[in-house]
Symmetry: C2
Subunit: 250 residues, 2 copies
């Protein structure tokens, strides 16, 4: 905060402010990500995250929720602010600072998203291949102010720095997985413990032990039994639901 009366604000050049949203959902036991194919330059034909400009009378979180609904039809999903990306040349059209968000869509609401419409801008669910995580995570100014590493030239799937944003979102999701109940946001209201385990495995990218997993969820009272069972090709599985709590933190 520098110390001058109101007119002062105009003395400093203002960047454009946007939001971007990384929407995660489970689909066939794999973590998926919602992308939009860009219809016009720059980055025409590349994948981009849903997002847009922040309006004068809204917070960035409200802007993210609004843009998500406008562009994909999704509303009332878990939405969390992630990180602000501000490399001066991240958008070739000019100085654009973007506040990235992460959204989680329950797997029974996959079809709520308007995907593959006949618009110029098609939305699509893509599986999170390991290719995406090879990107360096979001930067930090650490002691010594080390120079910002240049990204190696590689197959550019994503527009702008959206590959870095996706990598940051995945890192955040992983980090919060064990200390919060965020994973339940990707599950239906009622789910089997095996379904829950698949979510953890998809996000962590490795197998987790069945016994340990079930013990944790039940002993910590994160889930409670329901009367219903899920019937399928084999032995029916008990349906559970998340225990309501104030915050997602365990």
């Amino acid at each position: 905060m520098t110390d001058h009366p109101p007119f002062d604000l105009a003395r400093f050049e203002k960047p454009s402010l946007t939001v971007d949203v990384v929407v995660f959902a489970m689909r066939e036991s794999q973590l998926h990500l919602l992308v939009i194919e860009r219809g016009i330059p720059p980055f025409e034909g590349r994948w981009a995250l849903p997002g847009g400009f922040v309006l004068p009378r809204e917070t960035v979180e409200q802007a993210a929720a609004r843009e998500l609904e406008e562009e994909t039809g999704l509303k009332d999903v878990y939405l969390e602010q992630l990180y602000t990306f501000s490399t001066p040349d991240r958008d070739p059209r000019g100085r654009v600072v973007s506040v990235a968000h992460m959204a989680l869509l329950p797997m029974d609401r996959l079809d709520d998203a308007v995907v593959g419409g006949s618009d110029a801008r098609r939305a699509e669910w893509i599986a999170l291949p390991e290719a995406i995580e090879k990107v360096e995570p979001a930067g930090l100014v650490t002691p010594g102010a080390r120079p910002r590493k240049k990204r190696e030239p590689r197959e550019p799937h994503f527009a702008f720095d959206h590959d870095v944003i996706v990598a940051t979102a995945l890192a955040r999701l992983r980090g919060k997985l064990e200390s919060t109940t965020l994973a339940f946001e990707l599950l239906p209201a009622q789910f089997t413990l095996t379904e829950a385990q698949r979510v953890y495995e998809a996000i962590l990218g490795r197998a987790v032990d069945k016994v340990t997993f079930r013990r944790r969820l039940t002993q910590l009272e994160l889930v409670e039994e329901t009367a219903e069972m899920r019937r399928g090709a084999h032995r029916p599985a008990r349906l559970y639901q998340a225990v309501p709590r104030d915050s997602h933190w365990i």
Copy 2:
């Protein structure tokens, strides 16, 4: 990202973009916070965080490092982006979005900060009383888009929403404490295990077990012995140093 050629950016009203920095340091076994007393309205006489406007050719992290050095003389400290605050009326002078950062200053560098200078803008270290944490943490848009809670009117020590920013920084520091080696950033290059324990206790706000604490640090090889001892009023204590590693994550 909305789809129009360059001139499009001007179609959307741009907010001012600032950074604020929450600087933590240990002082007399207590966690302290660097504040600046405002010399002019708005919020004249109240405490504010060091910070200022983001320049056109820098990232917000660079802006935070620059402003921190300009206002307090501190450089080469651990600095991490925290959260972006964007409530439309958070600054009475107009639309100002601020990207908050957290910085950690080693206790042997406390005097690097220009504190209590004869300027209009005095910097001061204040102990983190529990009063500060009574503030609600940074908001989230959660399912159902619940209405943003109004803050109760109370003794306003801080300018703007800086009390919320401080609370968010403390929450982040606490959250990362057990899963990272961030605590070492608050310690000198060489430190005793009791000094390290004091840092953890100050941040967590509770006593931690001596045996468990020492076992963890040594068994996880987070620290290594040095040859030196710290001599004082009583039995000398061995000095340790942090084991160098790629990231702060354990």
